[in-house]
């Protein structure tokens, strides 16, 4: 259940999914860097970059509805930030700053969305590792990702148990306390689990370095 939610489209089989991760990372970073450097006068070029990202997304079989939903969640936040500039002058100018921000952010967001929804995280990490990301950080990320799924399942079980024992609508204070207990107990369980995992890793010869099996 958690897997579907976390990596919804990255496990596909399209052309974009089969590209090597390093090429995709470099391409995406190039598009983002170009998009954030373009001034407002070159808006057709920004539009072309956004179009390129959209073509990439459609080749990768990402449903338009999903892209729309993500944009609907993303754009209001960016608009709020962008509008802060005109707002600070009482809406008397600084509109070009706002326009630049919205344009650049949308291009960069579409490019990043293409990258993360065509590349499974393990492949992405292996690619980043080959591009020079520190190994410690990569091994930490792999560990986190591994136990993220475990903790999500644990959280889902605890929520089910809580719902099964709560028969009536609760007051805000009650449900606040309940949520606090839920998260607090998850925290305690997670730290206990970390202790057990540490012991297990030590007994299997853990020397502080993770070996990566990249392609």
């Amino acid at each position: 259940m958690a897997v579907e939610f976390l990596e919804r489209y990255s496990q596909g089989q399209s052309l974009c999914h089969r590209w090597p991760a390093r090429a995709k990372i470099v391409l995406t970073l190039l598009v983002i860097a170009t998009g954030t450097l373009l001034p407002l006068e070159y808006w057709p070029a920004s539009g072309c970059l956004a179009g390129l990202a959209l073509v990439g997304l459609s080749v990768a079989d990402i449903p338009l509805g999903y892209i729309g939903r993500r944009l609907a969640l993303f754009l209001p936040l960016v608009l709020m930030t962008a509008l802060a500039a005109p707002l600070s002058r009482g809406f008397m100018g600084a509109w070009d700053t706002a326009a630049v921000i919205v344009l650049r952010s949308t291009v960069a967001f579409l490019a990043a969305l293409w990258l993360v929804s065509t590349t499974p995280l393990e492949t992405l990490l292996a690619g980043l590792c080959r591009l020079g990301m520190p190994r410690v950080f990569v091994s930490l990320l792999i560990f986190t990702l591994r136990y993220l799924y475990v903790l999500f399942d644990e959280l889902a079980r605890m929520k089910t148990a809580q719902r099964a024992r709560t028969f009536q609508r609760q007051s805000t204070w009650r449900s606040w306390l309940g949520t606090t207990q839920l998260v607090g107990m998850l925290l305690i369980r997670a730290l206990n689990r970390a202790e057990r995992i540490h012991a297990a890793m030590m007994s299997r010869g853990w020397r502080g370095r993770m070996e990566l099996l990249d392609d």
Partner: protein, 331 residues
Amino acid sequence: MHIADGILSNEVCLGAGLLAAGAVGLSLRKLNDTVSLRTVPLTGMMAALIFAAQMVKFPLLVVPAYGHLLGGVLAAIVVGPWAGCVAMALVLFLQMALFADGGWMAYGANVLNMGVVGSLGGHAVYSLIRRHWSGPRGVIAGAAIASWLSVVAGSALFCLEFALSHRHAEFNISSLCAVMTTFHSLVGVGEALITGSLISYLLTMRPDLVDLPGRSAGVVAGISRLLWTGTIAALVIAAFLAPFAADGADALEATAEKFEFASLEKERPAPLPDYEVPLPGVSYETGVWHKVSVSLAGILGTSAVLGITLLMRRFTRSKLDSREFEATHGG
């Protein structure tokens, strides 16, 4: 809270990235000095936990809305500032690489505003408060105040980065700062509530997870006096220093502009006549109203944190007798 790409300029992203990389690198080094072999399981598990906990919606008590944990201060209190800082960097990376939440170029700025300020800065505030206020209430108050401050400080830092990114644009940085900090002082109240109640829950269930150096009981008796003097001092500081802090951002911006003048001239193909205006903040109206609003935000925030502390105090008192606590945790 996550900054998307395109909001900050590339130079600012680079600078923030270098600062964040330095802080995270230092944290990893410190961790390797202290708990070398435990680093990976401890930090990784904490990051996974914060990620999962951010998905849980809390019904906010004050307003009919939902909030969620940000977690920097919580992580710093439970596993220490260094591990907390690394855990926050991991969480932010995963959110970026899994959901495209927060930009790739702005990753360093995000780590700086939320991870570094939240864990290292938050822990500094927390331990400062703990030094003067022992016992469980000091822990809870320290956690709540540090969370509130970390959110407001993160937003102030974002304002600074935003101002540095758009130095040539014509907007009024002081009032931008006022709007952002006012908004985030409300967000911070939610964070303070959540972190405070989580810490108070941990204190009742597993007090060993929150490290509690013992203090003599005489200090505990003076808590209420300290509480009131401390609150008044905080209110005064918030009310009178906050407007100057907003002006300070202006001053910093002007200084930074002077500093970067020479180095950026070569790199930037953009037209340069903007440089003829030496102090962009001063030429616009720096009216009284936004100073007043910053003051108000400061006062409101401080009162809210005080309210939370009193509330938590009541909550803890019903769960945990102070004397019993002192008996088990040395005094």
